[in-house]
């Protein structure tokens, strides 16, 4: 009996320690960032371009580049991902081929992002000739998050109760009407949560953007998707890899902005889930 009690508390202690370590590291990281980054964090920082002098450098180009990327990526990836999920869940025959397809999509979600970068380089930059434009960047990021959006949307569609599908069929609805007007609205919270979480992953990506040729130093805001671009993680990477410590400090400021955007995104996901969740079961 005594031994079991001891084992119990050892296990509990171990789990607590693991949790504590994770949180402690996060707190230390944030503390470090705030210490270094807050002094530069003002409107000027958001509203100036990068510069050779760290004191005058800002993230204007990177911030706008990131916003462009978010917009274009969701424009490509959302409709494509949701439509794919609808096809797989609602129309595709439940054959071995479909099953194989689904397993592959789920596996694609785990492929390292740099591989997508190489794919984007081959297809969008070279083959389609988009060069190092926002098109290439956002299409590459779309490929990257597409599997996650598909899998999340499939789950959301699957959890729409059969009973309300039947109700709509019994009212003389066609299949497309049931899908468009009943299933998708009911699945929307799940779809949006998945989409937002995957988009926030895309925002933080650096590697694939470097491969498709995003630039580290830019002194203008992209006006059309044909323009060159930079993004927050790239700007941070660029500054962090310079020798002067002044750049390291503004890199920390950049990270804080990036974190704020990510936090805003995730908060949105939580709010949407809370607000729209209409089927508790």
């Amino acid at each position: 009996m005594q031994v079991r009690m001891v084992t119990n508390s050892i296990f509990k202690g171990f789990c607590f320690l693991s949790t504590f370590t994770a949180v402690a590291i996060l707190v230390m990281l944030l503390y470090h960032l705030f210490l270094k980054g807050t002094s530069h964090l003002d409107l000027d920082f958001l509203n100036s371009f990068s510069s050779r002098r760290p004191g005058r450098a800002g993230i204007k180009a990177a911030l706008w580049g990131t916003l462009w990327l978010i917009g274009l990526t969701s424009l490509f990836a959302l409709p494509l991902g949701v439509a794919t999920a609808v096809y797989l869940e609602e129309y595709a025959e439940k054959s071995r081929l479909t099953r194989l397809l689904e397993i592959n999509i789920a596996n694609l979600a785990g492929v390292p992002s740099i591989i997508y970068g190489l794919l984007g380089l081959a297809i969008f930059v070279r083959f389609l000739g988009f060069d190092r434009s926002l098109w290439s960047g956002s299409l590459t990021l779309s490929l990257l998050i597409l599997p996650v959006i598909i899998v999340a949307s499939q789950g959301a569609i699957r959890s729409v109760p059969l009973s309300i599908r039947e109700a709509s069929f019994a009212l003389g609805a066609q299949k497309w009407q049931v899908v468009l007007f009943v299933v998708l609205p009911a699945a929307l919270p799940g779809i949006l949560t998945g989409a937002i979480l995957s988009l926030s992953r895309a925002i933080g990506e650096t590697a694939p953007l470097i491969i498709v040729g995003a630039v580290g130093y830019m002194r203008f805001i992209p006006q059309t998707p044909n323009d060159d671009f930079t993004a927050l993680p790239l700007q941070i990477y660029d500054w962090a890899s310079r020798p002067q410590s002044g750049f390291h400090d503004i890199a920390a400021s950049g990270i804080l902005v990036l974190l704020a955007i990510l936090l805003l995104f995730n908060l949105n996901a939580v709010i949407i889930r809370q607000k729209l969740q209409r089927y508790p079961s």
């Binding site: 109760p161 009973s163 309300i164 039947e166 109700a167 709509s168 069929f169 019994a170 009212l171 003389g172 609805a173 066609q174 009407q177 007007f181 009943v182 609205p185 009911a186 209409r278 089927y279």
Partner: protein, 253 residues
């Protein structure tokens, strides 16, 4: 056309298969207009299976196969040329568990007519449908509230109002009271009796007393076959077949 055909719906040797398993075995019956016909029998999915065959709700289950014919307005609804969507517009269905859409009360009513581009005057349609389903007085001040805020019995009456809004000829009810408390059940039963004036009603129930209270005719199903059918009073007072007698007296089931 309508009057030339004597039944609202007539099954001729209608069988339903789940894979190789024959769930409903050659049921033939003419359902009379403006009557409440109850389908009774011991548990098992056969009664619901038969009812779902009446408006082609099995179309969505690939392993279900139907044989025989089902005549509505001098047309076999299982004919290859028949349009299942048109069939379901005219043959409405109320399910075991109330299943309103997660939308407002008003939107629930107009959903069917809207997607079918039927009515123009939705305000009037909402009022008349809810009135016919005896729900108007309870909800007239909260039409924009979510249908899910209603009680179970109210939700089920909303589902009835929703199918009424489609102006059907026939309303199929698949154990509409099985998820409800006695009070809500009583209100639904009362409603069914008034709906009979305008619609033909088929109701599946496992509750024999309910069948006796609300139906004009009864079908007794056992192991997929139609054992006996007829006038409700006669069926309950002196059934011709021993099996029916035993079931009605509660000897099995």
């Amino acid at each position: 056309m309508r009057l030339s055909y004597s039944y609202a719906l007539e099954a001729k040797a209608l069988s339903v298969f789940y894979g190789d398993n024959k769930a409903v075995d050659e049921v033939s019956y003419g359902f009379k207009r403006n009557k409440v016909t109850a389908i009774i029998g011991p548990s098992g999915c056969v009664k619901s299976t038969l009812m779902r065959a009446m408006n082609r709700m099995h179309d969505f289950v690939p392993e279900v196969k139907i044989e025989g014919s089902l005549w509505y307005e001098s047309e076999d609804i299982y004919d290859q040329r028949a349009n299942p969507v048109l069939v379901r517009k005219k043959i409405g269905m109320v399910f075991q568990k109330p299943n309103p859409f997660p939308k407002s009360i008003a939107k629930n009513i107009v959903w069917g007519p809207k997607i079918n581009r039927m009515s123009k005057n939705y305000k009037e349609l909402i009022e008349s449908s809810l009135k016919r389903a005896a729900l108007w007085d309870e909800v007239k001040h909260r039409l924009e509230e979510s249908a899910l805020s209603l009680s179970g019995g109210q939700q089920q009456r909303l589902c009835i109002a929703r199918s009424i809004a489609m102006d059907p000829d026939i309303i199929l009810m698949d154990e509409p009271c099985s998820a409800l408390d006695p009070k809500s059940t009583a209100s639904i039963e009362e409603l069914i009796l008034t709906l009979r004036e305008k619609y033909t009603i088929l109701i599946v129930t496992h509750n024999m007393q309910q069948a006796r209270r609300i139906s004009d005719e009864v079908l007794f199903m056992y192991e997929g076959r139609l054992v006996e059918s007829g006038d409700t009073e006669q069926m309950f007072e002196n059934p011709r077949i021993g099996q029916t007698h035993d079931y009605i007296r509660g000897k099995f089931g």
